[in-house]
Symmetry: C2
Subunit: 453 residues, 2 copies
Amino acid sequence: MPKTTQTSSSTTFTTYQDEWVGHVVYHSRLPNGLHVVSVPLPDRLSVMAVLSLRVGSRYEDDRQAGVAHLIEHLVFKGTHTRPTSRDVVLPIEGVGGILNANTSREMTNYWGQVPFQHVERLLDVLFDMVMNPLMREEDVEHEKAIIIEEINASLDMPDEVAGLAAMALLHPGHPLGRDIAGTRETVRALTREDVLAFMQTFYGPQNGVLAVAGRVEHEDVVAWAQALSAEWQGGAGKQPFPAQPLPAGLHVQCIHRDIEQVQLVMGVRTVPERHPDQYPLLLLNALLGDGMASRLFLQVREQLGLAYHIGSYLSFGSDFGEMTIEAGVDPANVMLALEAIASEVRNIVAEGPTPEEVIFAREYVTGRLLLGLESGMRAAGWYVTQLLQGVSPLLSPSDVLAALAAVQAEDIQRVAQTYLTPSNMVLVLVGPVGDAPQLSPPLLEERLMTWLA
Amino acid sequence: MPKTTQTSSSTTFTTYQDEWVGHVVYHSRLPNGLHVVSVPLPDRLSVMAVLSLRVGSRYEDDRQAGVAHLIEHLVFKGTHTRPTSRDVVLPIEGVGGILNANTSREMTNYWGQVPFQHVERLLDVLFDMVMNPLMREEDVEHEKAIIIEEINASLDMPDEVAGLAAMALLHPGHPLGRDIAGTRETVRALTREDVLAFMQTFYGPQNGVLAVAGRVEHEDVVAWAQALSAEWQGGAGKQPFPAQPLPAGLHVQCIHRDIEQVQLVMGVRTVPERHPDQYPLLLLNALLGDGMASRLFLQVREQLGLAYHIGSYLSFGSDFGEMTIEAGVDPANVMLALEAIASEVRNIVAEGPTPEEVIFAREYVTGRLLLGLESGMRAAGWYVTQLLQGVSPLLSPSDVLAALAAVQAEDIQRVAQTYLTPSNMVLVLVGPVGDAPQLSPPLLEERLMTWLA
């Protein structure tokens, strides 16, 4: 990736020029530690900005479960100069903009989009929220009630229940396996002191990245960020408890619900972000279960007609990774669907992909990556995780495309053999399984071992 | 809206220039009746295209319920030159593109996105799907099973159950009130002959619009469309059974489910697309329940802490319209939440908006509209509905913004008084309501009448 470095009065700019994708990415680091990234898209009418912090649910101990997500809610409740939630949101929504946030296991992102004329106002609100939230006692109590309704809503969605249960099996007893929102019990027990202590550790410029994409100039973004974060300090954060390996053996769980379908999630542990196996895994996922030309879609849906929804998904974290296969099926067809999924897994492990599939998967992943980068948000976010994880030099989209181009059929088969094994696997069923004796975990384990052998 | 017309060898181009939004829209009509719209966005890496037909679930009689949606599935199963679903999808996903479709009550849309070099291939696949599907007997039977799983999945989602029940109350006994997918019973009974007869009536260039946005030139789009649709004829369609007025009186339904939350949907009937009341309704919706600065969000969530999800939504059809207010609440708080929602409705009816709210709502709706148009899909789709409904002259984004700018506080209060009345209202509750005697429909009706009076 071509790269140039220049120095202005107070910061060093690094410019990444990615000819393939057409974007130019500018990167600076402010004296207070904050990374600033911009992607000028001069033809756009809008600007998107995301202020991200290296903190999420995995940084909590069991008692604190849910505090990172509670803080993400609370910063919308008011700041010293914008004392109500209406005061926080109105400057952005009042110009037709969007203001939102999300919490993952490893990151908290505050983001917005506005017509380009209002970019300074958006940055002002984002920095104000994370630097000066009021965090009133009554707001903490109030927001806990709202989050309990958020948890209740997810408990009423069978696919979310299945996904959460699979994560818990993939990371037993570890914060990475918990619902990001915490449980109703842990949320009820959180206090304002928990909130303030947690923020004190993690909320500061040393732990953050501002990324902006749209009709802006990098020098302006740096100047605004510098002015707005001048009083902001600290936030060195701390290292989380490392991910632990999955205990060997197949782990199966059945959760009874009186509903129409059974939601299936089969999961395996893989590798962290930027592990070399990530690239063959991306191609494996594409040809196995991502999209309408994938093996699972063609076999389980098109050939056998067993599911409307069937697909596979990847997630890469700083020291862990997961791949899941998910489907919703008729309770009478659970065994047929499981056998069909296991059969596709066994085939790719035993025989690897065809040469045509390797080409397809490479084109598919490459094309989706480039189409995705047209979105201002994705362009803004591309370098955020890398900067928070201290990656150097930064990987550009072209670097990733080059790595994907080098993947061969044998690499794909090798990662399938390494990760898609029964001893590295969990399975969750959510639905009317209580009255079906053949859907007991021991029997499902036995069948799956046979089908995958 | 500035407009110029020019004629090439076989078609007349109309060019709409919308300076405010920055897009130029080209419109042609082919000799076979097909409308062709393009929005050149020369800086984009991709092209999006949508081929839309004026047909959806409202064009079905009760026995045919679900056939429009079944056809939307079946065209992916193979064509004369692409005999399998893999053959249909692979040309698009094999270059990293997206191919998808959706069916609404009034329209069926086939759409895709590809890197711009592959636009001809995308158009080739889209026209092939709608012009030459194989519609094999076994594909019909097979796809019915998949759609029944799609219906089962929606029956397991409480918010979808509530939304469908509210639509049924808003359009009692009318195809507009039915699930677009039909019921499991009607889908099971559909035959290949139903499919072919329905397609024969509605699938043809006289009933369609092709819209393309991205790195393309209009003359090329017209030439491709003309070549690809040369053999396509007919499809005049027919008029649907008109929407019927909502029988006067408040209609309440409680649906029991053993779940954590109660999903509430309150609905009213409003006006069709392009009725002058649409513009004050857009502002009413914004200030009442759209976004985090709206009255319902600030009162029900921020003030009272009763719901994580609370919002209001508009839908405009060719001869009908609806507004709904939706929330998920703790079963113990249903009455409190309903009273709070009713109180906000009564306030806006009795007192209208504040001058500040009128400004806010106008900026909010204007800004969201402009941000939305950055998306290739929205830009591509802007004129599709209008062309299918025969609107002339076409309304540009600027025309809509001008209409919104003219809305006054008294217009907003007037539409609130006209449509947000108990005699034009339905209410659905889905959740653990069976064991709560105070949640009976008669009692809920009585309370709501009191709160809204």
